[in-house]
């Protein structure tokens, strides 16, 4: 058996007909599709319907279809506007450093060196942690009284007096973004590193023969080759950054005074504390629309049409 595998060099295409294997395919996919439909798509659909209903856990006897009322209420809320604007800051200023630093790290790790494996294990670990825990750790480090960040900055002579990181609205926003950058660099580094390793060495050799220096190689060979990865990775990251409220939830919980709320934490607050399912769902629907518009615009702008098949 083993010798047979070794002689196979190319992947042979499946040559089975649908009719013969249709039942097998169906049975193998059934559990996955059934579960996903019942426990992801059905609640999602129900959630969208709720956005048009007066669905509050306090008043379950009074559920009616109320059209766009939830959307009107939510959009009139100044906290909504603030979290909408915050969402854009949050995504943009989190993404840019993540991308750049992640890219540089990946470039530096491309070539094998002694200890690379251990180094990778050390810098990749944020990925094994939850946003919730990361938020907690940073909340402790940014503590006003005994925070290590203030202490470090003072010792390095960068600041004179301690900064009230989590009490001041502007600094609070900076804080959640820094924590998020810490979290997300790993993702970019992993994805870009893997893409870099798929670039054939011949391309670089050819570029060298043509006299290209490092920067020229970067822009003429490296970036064009891994562009699809860069595009998809960025898209996924934007979506995840917007969708996952856990880091902000444990770091500032939207505070002080709503200054670090993004749409998903705002929605969560309506859901968990307000128990107003209708309004929470309305925020969710708005979020879906934003994501949809962004994704379409982004994919069109990058003229990239293969995202659909991963």
């Amino acid at each position: 058996m083993k010798t047979q595998t070794e002689t196979v060099t190319e992947r042979s295409l499946p040559s089975f007909s649908i009719s013969r294997h249709g039942l097998f395919i169906f049975l193998c996919l059934l559990p996955a599709l059934l579960l996903v439909t019942v426990f992801i798509y059905y609640p999602l659909f129900k959630g969208v319907v709720m956005a048009f209903q007066s669905y509050s856990l306090f008043d379950l006897s009074n559920i009616e279809f109320i059209g766009l009322e939830n959307f009107k209420t939510v959009m009139a809320d100044s906290a909504f506007k603030e979290s909408l604007i915050n969402s854009f800051y949050w995504v943009f200023f989190s993404l840019l450093p993540q991308f750049l630093i992640g890219f540089i790290v990946a470039l530096l790790l491309r070539r094998k060196f002694r200890g690379r494996g251990i180094y990778q294990a050390f810098i990749f670990f944020p990925w094994a942690m939850s946003g919730f825990l990361i938020g907690l750790i940073w909340r402790w480090m940014l503590n006003g009284q005994a925070g290590v960040i203030n202490d470090l900055l003072i010792k390095l002579n960068i600041i004179d007096t301690a900064i009230p990181f989590l009490a001041d609205p502007t600094w609070a926003m900076v804080s959640v973004i820094v924590a998020n950058v810490w979290y997300g660099i790993t993702f970019f580094a992993i994805m870009i590193l893997a893409a870099l390793q798929s670039i054939p060495d011949e391309l670089y050799e050819a570029a060298k023969i043509d006299g290209a220096n490092y920067i020229q190689q970067l822009f003429k060979v490296t970036i064009p080759y891994i562009l699809p990865t860069l595009i998809v990775t960025t898209l996924l990251r934007v979506i995840w950054i917007l969708n996952f409220p856990d880091l902000i939830y444990s770091l500032t919980n939207g505070g002080p005074a709503g200054s670090t709320h993004i749409l998903s934490t705002f929605m969560l607050e309506k859901l968990i504390y307000g128990q107003n399912y209708g309004q929470a769902a309305a925020v969710g629907v708005i979020l879906i629309f934003i994501l949809l518009f962004f994704s379409i615009f982004y994919l069109l702008a990058t003229k990239f049409n293969k995202a659909g098949d991963f």
Binding site: T5, K46, L136
Partner: protein, 277 residues
């Protein structure tokens, strides 16, 4: 000998070292904090290494809470959900890797979409669904949901692993008289065991970390998971940072060990499966 500075190497060493410090420091800091006696927690100046090590914070969280129960709950939950999603994802990943059929793109797209939409919209309906199924405050509610949530991503990873194994391998086994299922389990699965282990670990870590579904579904002490318990440690005005740091360290250690073990394969699987240019 002429002194020549290799700027590229210097940049590499300096950048990677600084980045290592940046990445590792927060974890180091929470670890050091967890070993501090309570009276030193807020004392100044701050010490960057801890001379008087105490385990009182660790002992405390077991005293003030049912941390042993939370650990058991998280452990059982993550193992069960990990296995369940792995089995389902193996079947669907195999089919998606090996066969061309009508609707294949749509199936992949349906999985892909689940990664892109805010699932919180479904949180309230899920709560109502679980209450109808009488699963609220019971671990099976989370076992079920975590399995489901992990299936799409695990399917994609498994698809990637299957695609790297030549299909002639199981064709040969089938010519030898195996059924397709027997070929899959006797021939293919053993070959890709490292990949399967990595996928399981990935799912395990995700389930171990999940917070919001657990907050929604679980309110009773005996069914709390570690994240839910830690969430309830956060009172509105104050956090017991000694207990919290010890809890953080305890909840991170298993995932870090598993992740260090599996990261190579996870990275491979992810890039094979999820982002192909």
């Amino acid at each position: 000998m002429a002194r020549q500075i290799n700027w590229q190497l210097l940049f590499k060493v300096v950048f990677l070292s600084l980045f290592l410090v940046f990445t590792v420091f927060p974890l180091y800091w929470i670890f050091i904090t967890s070993l501090k006696p309570t009276k030193d927690m807020f004392s100044l100046p701050i010490h960057y290494s801890q001379e008087t090590i105490t385990f009182e914070n660790y002992i405390n969280i077991f005293k003030i809470s049912n941390f042993d129960i939370y650990i058991m709950n998280s452990l059982i939950l993550s193992i069960v959900a990990g296995f369940f999603s792995l089995i389902i994802a193996t079947l669907s990943g195999y089919v998606l890797a090996r066969f061309e059929f009508k609707g294949k793109t749509q199936v992949i797209f349906a999985f892909f979409i689940t990664q892109m939409i805010p699932l919180f919209i479904g949180l309230a309906p899920l709560y109502l669904l679980m209450s109808k199924l009488q699963l609220l405050n019971k671990l099976p509610s989370l076992m079920l949901m975590y399995s489901v949530m992990m299936v799409p991503f695990c399917t994609v990873i498994m698809k990637g692993f299957f695609e790297r194994i030549p299909s002639s391998l199981e064709e040969a086994a089938m010519i030898d008289g195996c059924s397709r299922m027997a070929a899959l389990f006797k021939v293919i699965i053993p070959v890709m065991l490292p990949g399967i282990a990595a996928t399981f670990i990935f799912a395990f870590v995700q389930c171990w970390n999940e917070l919001f579904l657990a907050i929604m579904f679980i309110d009773k002490e005996e069914a709390k998971t570690i994240p839910v318990a830690m969430n309830s440690f956060i009172t509105k005005f104050d956090i017991d940072w000694g207990a919290m740091s010890a809890a953080t360290v305890l909840s991170v250690i298993p995932t870090l060990i598993l992740f260090a073990f599996a990261q190579k394969y996870i990275v491979e699987g992810m890039t094979q499966g999820s982002v192909k240019g």
